[in-house]
Symmetry: C2
Subunit: 136 residues, 2 copies
DNA sequence: ATCCTACGATGGACGGAGTCCAAGTCAAGA
DNA sequence: TCTTGACTTGGACTCCGTCCATCGTAGGAT
């Protein structure tokens, strides 16, 4: 994830140890951690990192388009570092596990003008739900 | 919405004034109120109705499949009484207004088996986002 | 019409998730 | 090395929602 750190520094970020650790925690595929989970893992490497800093850093990464925020249910938001590869999410209705999926088709094309109510529609987010192998 | 009340009574519900008022508040199309908004409107008709009762009643209606819970952003859940007409949602990225929409196509069919990871996929929820006419 | 009682309502305490703020710290340019 | 403004900290706070002990009442039984 030094890619991410490079991109962030290129945007004028001051590179602190806290930000470095948060970026490292978010590395990988199928990573969908809550802010508190990010905080817990970051604290393993940098014990005194604060929750506020984790929230700030995640929020900034989201604003910069480097991380996606996923509001699965009414619970805590999850953070998905896979922002540069368009995808949707498949969520287990029972245990909440999240997988990245790549449906065919383009949902935006499925919304006819008569159903747009004058909105400038820019995004379609698809959430699939069902039971995962472990919960099935 | 006496339809709804009839259905609920048919399911063994005790018909209290509180439940009646909540059901009345949820009547109509394009209704997507938060629990607190439901509480406020219910309280206009029945001043001493409690928040807990509103939450209980909404939760029961959701369990019975008479009302749909919509988690638009990370904020308060919204309650959509239009449960018997399948639809998706179009949300203004700026002001949060919600409209019911009816896309063509079936997103479930767009998720190939190889992208299902062994899940028993049962539901696909599509959320469109963009700027509404007022915010555009 | 009245009584009974289990189901529902109440409100206040509680919990989780997230934001805010004043004070202290430090990355990085001069 | 110095300086400074951006960053971090932790604790208080807000918002949304749940829980619980107690009280009230809908509606069947009589």
């Amino acid at each position: 994830m030094s890619d991410l750190l490079e991109r962030l520094r290129g945007r004028g970020w001051r590179l602190t140890s806290q930000r470095r650790v948060v970026a490292q925690v978010l590395d990988g595929d199928h990573v969908h951690l809550t802010a508190d989970e990010v905080h817990a893992r970051a604290a393993e490497r940098l014990p005194e990192i604060s929750r506020a800093t984790v929230y700030n850093t995640l929020g900034e990464m989201v604003s910069l388009g480097e991380v996606i925020e996923v509001s699965t249910d009414g619970r805590a938001k999850r953070y998905d570092p896979n922002a540069h590869h368009p995808h949707q999410h498949l969520i287990c209705s029972n245990c909440g596990t999240v997988r990245d999926v790549h449906p065919t088709g383009n949902p935006l094309a499925d919304l006819p003008p008569s159903e747009r109510f004058g909105f400038a529609v820019s995004e379609a987010e698809v959430t699939y739900r069902g039971l995962c192998p472990d919960c099935g």
